[in-house]
Assembly symmetry: C2
Homo-oligomer: 467 residues x 2
């Protein structure tokens, strides 16, 4: 292998080929569920260097694992334990190539931090709406490779819908320049969307042209208590009808998830008393705060009168708005404080969510008495983080070891029965490969494998992930 | 071949296999530029019948040409002249399978007429926003196979962005059930978007789940005169900033295109005097007409004050609004009255359009004195129909015969130099295959051919189109 390492050092410079020392920040995933061993960590600085690295690895039959900010949740971007895979870190490709205000686009290297893109847009009075918990450290390349979701999908779509064009290094080490700032382009197969969401298994995304939007004049936030998931869905319908595209966020949280926040973060003020369910609504307005408030209060009054909600609080300031979002974002942390848990990142047709939750809550409670559900998520997108915590007083580690597989089966079977997906926004990676094979139709798997063989016949692009 | 015809008759019934009589409505395209000869026109009535037809053709090594409403503009859905291709008509698959109001989705067979989908949504108080001239006869399957655009892409995206899931018969005659009403689903490669826009060359779309939106409470239309394309772009930016997602249409028309409407349709009232350029704006509002009018008039006053527009008229009624759209939609008809012309369906970054138009107008005028430009289109999407009419008094047929190729070269070279696309919303079909090979990068072509070989190794799906 030393001839490969020499070739890599000659390509990117010897200081950018790491083989010694503590490589844990590249070899271990963020959740510390996967820890591998890389042949080397290689850090190219340009697209051409990425292409040269891919060609060198291809010539040596060596597999490549691309990695951005290493914030993925499914073990998709760390090497396996064999010590034979090259970890290709894209973080040195971090240039903003250019912003085009009249075209509402920005072109960036794949290694740009998401927050950098948001700030670049904001500095031009524009909005890049992709927003998620890891935005301070995740990269655009990773966001696109995993088709990231987040909190504003309801209005702006996933990472896929926010991307107009890509630059990709193919498995053969060639550069496809598909960067384009075009809203319409019907010249052949949609290669862009094939690479988006392919988790590094078809090629390496090195740059992207992304959509921007005019920044809203005002953003308002509210919390509302609802008696059941059915009313949460009714509130969503009412909000969509009254606010139209102004509704940019619609999050739901069950009472238990809020109680965990209360328990572990008692310093956080909760504007509403405990309730069965709570909804966080966000509205973005092009006119201004007075107009936004008028619309928002009208919506909440109508919902109160119709008996859909039982209580509501509208943020009176940016600080109050941030505090409401902070409550929502504290759920995963509160849950971690409570102990290990089983995460389910699922999507369902919105119309099926009340039935799914009712049936599945009941089935889990009957099979595992005392089991606790931390159910929250992006209801506007039909995306729930339907997480399972061990019964109070049980060892979380023992409970997971003994029951995780059976609980996953109950949850994913119910998801499938309601026409849903077992991976909404986190992807497949290494974590859900078995589920993919088990739950995707044979025809879909066959089509995917044909595409994989066609674009990566040697199977060197992120092997062991996704397919 | 009689054994294939027997097999087809056994599959779909003998009355649905047409070999005699006048088959022109299937064998000839809408623009009458392509006239082929089918081995047979086959009209399956179910997805399973489509799959059986594909398997029968595969067993006989016979090529298939899928067809919906046969309204395509690039010769993508009529058979070639060989008499060996089976024309697969999808129009009998015309069931609305179901509308889910809470999930804002509708699932329809591929042969449903676009207008039927619009009406189905409207009957539920909802909107299916795909809208284009052929909506009364084109089908959803064709819209998706060609990734159709239209007049509301600015706000709602192309057909691709309006589709959540597909049912497809593969080249092997298997059924992929990818129908899903999910906003988030990261379980493997994006097969949906691979089939969308593939023009029937990878498989046959038999059904789709489409996105719906709450119907707007008011829709308003205005015409404005602008001195140049630069001001048209400035007006677009102002309108996007002030109306945000309320801006649902932004069309531009040059003075000559409006003069052709005036000449050939003098009975149509033009609310504004002739101008160098005219813009048609459409606003959709979730609150109501008073609010919409307030916003719209504020925008136009600001634009007048800033010197961006020189004149404007806001429609005072639905009838006036329709009359404004009718003027815009009469351009292609007026142009046809004026004689044959060379159509260019191009897309550019919006920011590059003023420079492109300035340079290309001048270059064409210097090379072909007297040449007339009918330039109009969806400026909000960067999509121009930059059409060329022979100089006044010249034979249009002679002019096209002698100069079409050279004019295309000038136009498409300029489009490429400005980072644009030579096919924005009409696709490739048979018409632009040579341009695809000439203008797409070798890496992109190689990737597309690999995908084609992977999914249709026998090359029987709409051969001779796209690739």
């Amino acid at each position: 292998m030393s001839s490969l390492l020499d070739a890599l050092a000659a390509t990117v410079g010897p200081t950018q080929v790491l083989t010694d020392g503590d490589l844990a920040s590249w070899e271990q995933d963020w959740r510390k569920r996967y820890r591998g061993k890389a042949l080397a960590v290689v850090r190219p600085g340009t697209t051409d260097e990425v292409a040269a690295v891919v060609r060198a690895c291809a010539a040596h039959g060596t597999a490549l694992v691309p990695q951005g900010g290493n914030t993925g949740l499914v073990g998709g971007s760390v090497p396996d334990a064999s010590g034979t895979q090259v970890l290709l870190s894209l973080t040195r490709l971090n240039r903003v190539r250019g912003l085009d205000a009249a075209n509402l686009t920005v072109t960036v290297d794949a290694g740009c931090i998401l927050q950098t893109v948001q700030e670049t847009a904001a500095a031009a009075g524009l909005l890049f709406p992709l927003s998620l918990a890891a935005e301070g450290s995740c990269t655009v390349g990773g966001n696109l490779a995993s088709n990231a979701g987040g909190t504003q999908v309801l209005r702006y779509g996933n990472a896929r819908e926010l991307c107009l064009g890509l630059e990709v290094v193919t498995a053969q080490g060639e550069v496809w320049d598909g960067l384009a700032g075009l809203r319409k382009d019907n010249t052949g197969y949609d290669l862009r969307d094939l690479f988006i969401g392919s988790e590094g298994t078809l090629g390496i995304i090195t740059a992207a042209t992304l959509k921007l939007y005019p920044a809203p004049a005002a953003v308002m936030t509210a919390l509302a208590s609802v008696p059941s998931m059915a009313e949460a869905v009714a509130l969503l319908q009412l909000a969509q009808a009254r606010l139209g595209p102004g509704l940019t966020g619609f999050e739901v949280m069950n009472g238990f998830s809020m109680s965990l926040v209360r328990k572990h973060f008692p310093q956080l003020r909760q504007p509403l008393p405990p309730a069965e369910w709570m909804v966080l609504l966000e509205q973005s307005d092009t006119e201004g705060e007075a107009h936004a408030r008028h619309l928002f209060e009208g919506l909440l009054e109508a919902a109160l009168e119709a008996g859909i909600i039982t209580d509501a609080a509208v943020a009176e300031s940016i600080e109050q708005s941030h505090a409401m979002w902070h409550l929502r974002e504290s759920i995963p942390l509160a849950q971690a404080e409570e102990g290990l848990n089983i995460k389910h990142d699922i999507a369902l047709p919105v119309s099926r969510i009340p039935a799914f939750v009712g049936e599945t809550d009941e089935r889990l409670a009957s099979l595992w008495p005392g089991l606790r559900l931390v159910n929250f998520g992006h209801l506007g997108d039909g995306n729930l983080h339907y997480n399972v915590q061990a019964p109070e007083g049980h060892s979380a580690a023992d409970f997971l070891r003994d029951h995780e597989h059976a609980i996953n089966t109950v949850v994913y079977d119910a998801v499938g029965a309601h026409g849903g997906s077992f991976s909404a926004e986190h992807g497949i990676g290494a974590l859900k490969r078995d589920e993919l094979v088990r739950r995707k139709s044979p025809v879909a798997l066959q089509l995917m494998r044909a595409v994989k063989r066609a674009l990566d016949p040697a199977g060197l692009m992120n092997p062991g992930r996704l397919l």
